[in-house]
Each structure stands twice: as C-alpha cells, then as structure tokens.
C-alpha cells in the first residue's frame, strides 16, 4: 500500500497552509480539466511542472506515479485515433482520425498535468492535515472523521489480511484456479472482515471510555499562513480564471 511518500519535505508547499492549497487546487484542477484548447492546456501543464519544481519532489517517485497513470491514457491515445470519426489520414496504410489524434494528445497532457498538480498541492500534506483542512472548509465533522478513520485503519486491515495470507502460505497454500483456492480466499477475506468488525467495536469502546458520546472534536493545528501561501493561492485562482476564459473565447 502506498504510504504518504510525498508528504515529507521542506519546500514552501510542504509548509504551506492546507486550506489555501485545497482551495487553489479545487479551482485549478477543474479549470485544467475542462479547457478545450491546446495552447491553454500547455500553459496549465507548465504551471503544474512549476509547482512540482517548487515542491522539490523526488523525481524518481513522481515519474513512477506518472508511468502508472499513463498506461491508461496511452491506451486512449492509441485507440482514439482509430475509432474517432472525422476526416481520416493514412499512416502506414491505416486510416487515422485527425480529431481523434488531437483529442488523445490533449488527454495525455491533461492526465499528466493534473496528476502533477495533485501531487504538488495535495500530496505534500499528510492525509490527516488534509482531513482537517476539509473540515475547516466546511466538510461535516462526520465525513471528516470517516476519512481519517478509513485512512488510519486501512493499513491495519491490510496487515491483518497479509498476516492471514502468510499463515496460509506457510501451511503450503499456493493459489491456483481451483475451488480450493477460491474457498481459501473466501475464508481469508471473510476472516479479515470479521476481525475488522471486532476491532471497530473495540475502538468504539476505547473512544467511549475516553468520554466520546457521538460528537467528535478534532485537535486543530494552529494555522500559520505565510505570504507565499497567499501568492500561490491568488496565482492559481487568477491563472484558472484567465486561462478558462482564453480557452473558450480566444
């Protein structure tokens, strides 16, 4: 399971205010996603690259992430020109749709750009501070608690499953395509679910013992907003608005 690999670092984006990063990102990413033209998409991509550079993220890991996402967009990039309508031209005797080709390219640019922006803006905060950021922006206490709990226990549940899987392996279990395998995996998954349920009961007990009665009061971080945060936020807002207008009008 992926841990919060990008959340440690000393860049201004790591230290920045989560609330402003979230707000900026919530505007920037949809604006990037809906832009219809190449010119604006390339400028958006440039801004994303700039953000990645500011965040000083480990290049190797960023590229790993991008490669993963590009398997999907590569598939679109290959199939779209072959299936999209419009006037075709020939490559090695195969009719290829020009509109499909252009659309595929735009999708590749947007996928990578948006992913970079996501990593640079949101990946640089821990899930816990993102949760509190969302809470501060008006997401309900209940949803915030749900997000934080899911994040906290997904690792425990994964460990639990792996432990059971290891136990099965030690006793000579090797998966194949047969009923025994399906039944064993059924047991493993069922057992993991039962244990998670039990654990959730015990966690609830622990919370009740410490005075929980249905209302959740998270400890919030004292916010420390720097001029950089404001500049970043305003920059993202302005860029999003201007580029969206240019994309649709220009």
């Amino acid at each position: 399971m992926k841990e919060e690999r990008f959340s440690v670092g000393g860049s201004p984006l790591h230290r920045g205010s989560v609330k402003l990063k979230l707000c900026g990102g919530l505007l920037f990413i949809p604006a990037f996603a809906i832009t219809p033209s190449y010119r604006e998409a390339l400028i958006f991509l440039f801004i994303s690259l700039l953000l990645t550079a500011i965040a000083r993220l480990p290049l190797k890991h960023v590229i790993n992430r991008l490669v993963l996402a590009n398997f999907f967009s590569l598939f679109l990039f290959i199939t779209l020109p072959l299936t999209y309508g419009g006037d075709p031209f020939l490559i090695w005797g195969v009719p290829v749709s020009k509109a499909g080709f252009l659309l595929g390219g735009l999708i590749v640019i947007k996928t990578n750009g948006i992913l970079l922006a996501l990593i640079a803006l949101l990946g640089t905060s821990t899930v816990s501070s993102l949760g509190h950021g969302l809470n501060a922006l008006g997401v309900s206490d209940r949803l915030t608690a749900l997000l934080l709990f899911s994040y906290r226990y997904i690792f425990v549940i994964e460990q639990e499953f792996k432990r059971l899987q290891r136990a099965a392996k030690i006793r000579g279990f090797s998966p194949g395509t047969n009923v025994h395998t399906y039944r064993t995996f059924g047991y493993l998954i069922g057992m993991t679910m039962v244990k998670s349920w039990d654990q959730s009961q015990r966690i609830h007990d622990a919370m009740v013992l410490r005075g929980y009665d249905g209302q959740f009061f998270p400890l919030t971080n004292p916010s420390n907003r720097s001029p950089f945060d404001l500049i970043l936020f305003l920059g993202l807002v302005l860029a999003s608005i201007i580029l969206t207008f240019l994309g649709y009008l220009g």
Partner: protein, 238 residues
C-alpha cells in the same frame, strides 16, 4: 481508605458459555493490585465489567458507595478510570500522536490550547515528547504502548486498569514502563503473567479461578530466577 469500586455478588457469562464470574465480590480503593489467572479465566472480562463495557447479569456495581445503573452513572465512573487495552491498535485511532492524546481532554470540554498543553505535559512526563507529531500507525509496538498509556494518564484517572501491559515489549521498553508505573501514585489493577513486573508495580496479588477472585495471602508472592520445582508458579516459602 475509601472504596472507589465495589462488586457485590456479580455473575457474568457470555451467551451460550460457562459462567465467567460466579457470585464475585471485590472492592478497591487506593490499592495497587496485581491480577493473575490462566488464559480464558476472565481477567479481561472483569476489567470490562468494572468500566461498564459489559454489564453484570446479576449482582451490583458500586462507585464511591452508590450503585451504578444509568448510562450517566457509567459516564461519571469512567471519568475516574483509565483502561489500557491489551492491543494498542484498538486504542490509538487518531492520525497523529498528539491528536490521539488530546482526544480525551477535548471530550472533557477543555479548549484546544488547554488540551494541547496538557497532552504535551504528559508526553514530557513519559519522556516521549519527540513522538508528538508521529503518525500513530507507524509507531513501534513499544512506542504504541507508551502513547496508549499517555492517552489514559492525560485524563487524570484515580484508578488504572492495565491489561497485560508488558506483552511483546522489549526489555528496554519494559524497564521504562516498570519505572513509570512504579513511580506513579495512582491505584491500579494490573493483569499480567510477568511476575517481576507485578512485584515492582503492585503490592497485593489477586487470582481469578472458577469465577471467583481470591487474594493471595501474605502480601506478594514471588518467583525465583533459579531452577526450582515451582520456579515458574507463584509460591510461598515457609
């Protein structure tokens, strides 16, 4: 000595099972009690009844002299008790250490600043201040145990209920926990199979057998390091 908790003829059994507690009588004020018993004898169950996570099917539970019946009574009772679970993963549910420790104080109505202040104090007291911003699920087992203890101590309980606290601890962390508990002036019931640990952190010893609690007489029993017929069992010398 005033009695904090009192069990009066309590019976308890899980559905379709043998009774775990059978007309059990017990009271504790400010003693430091060690609790022993074989696996499955009902030690954890007893603690859960004392904090009201399980309700006795027969008999009564008293808190400071008055019977505990309503949920409000239980809430008042729980404010005085600090229960350390066998498995720390059940106890640490917040993303970061400081948030987890502040959870209780915030529920008690403290402000953000007061809760943070108090949490930091307790971390300092347990000498784990450096863990404050760590992600809870990445802590080692020993660190988790100490942080879990901090989440309990920050509530200023009058009685600690500790369920096998030294399980899976390395000698160093075990030493640290021993020293902390030895120096704390809080009444306690400690479940443990670790004799040396119990000798250092408690004064009286109770054992649970066939649904009854007995006090082992003559203060603390002890074990020997040398080979001995009863070396791994509690015994008295004449």
């Amino acid at each position: 000595m005033s009695t904090l908790l009192n069990l009066d003829n309590v019976c308890f059994s899980y559905p379709h099972c043998q009774p775990i507690l059978n007309n059990c009588n017990f009271s504790i004020g400010d003693q430091r009690i060690g609790l022993i018993g074989s696996n499955g004898s009902g030690k954890t169950t007893l603690l859960k009844i004392l904090v009201g996570l399980l309700k006795p099917q027969q008999g009564r539970l008293f808190h400071q002299g008055s019977e505990v019946t309503s949920e409000r009574d239980y809430r008042k009772l729980r404010k005085n008790l600090g229960f350390l679970f066998q498995n720390s993963n059940d106890q640490l549910f917040s993303p970061t250490v400081i948030e987890d420790i502040a959870f209780g104080p915030l529920n008690m109505g403290l402000t953000q600043d007061q809760a943070r202040e108090r949490s930091l104090q307790i971390l300092k007291k347990l000498d784990i201040l450096s863990l404050q911003d760590q992600i809870t699920h990445r802590l080692s087992g020993g660190e988790k145990k100490l942080v879990a203890l901090a989440t309990v101590l920050v509530m200023n309980p009058r009685l600690l209920l500790l369920d096998e606290p030294t399980n899976n601890l390395d000698p160093e962390t075990r030493e640290k926990l021993t020293a902390i508990l030895r120096d704390l002036e809080i009444a306690r019931i400690i479940i443990s199979h670790d004799w040396d640990f119990l000798t250092e952190t408690t004064d009286e010893l109770y054992s649970i057998e066939h649904g009854h609690l007995h006090q082992c007489k003559d203060g603390h029993v002890h074990v020997h390091q040398h080979v001995h017929e009863h070396g791994d069992k509690p015994h008295h010398h004449s």
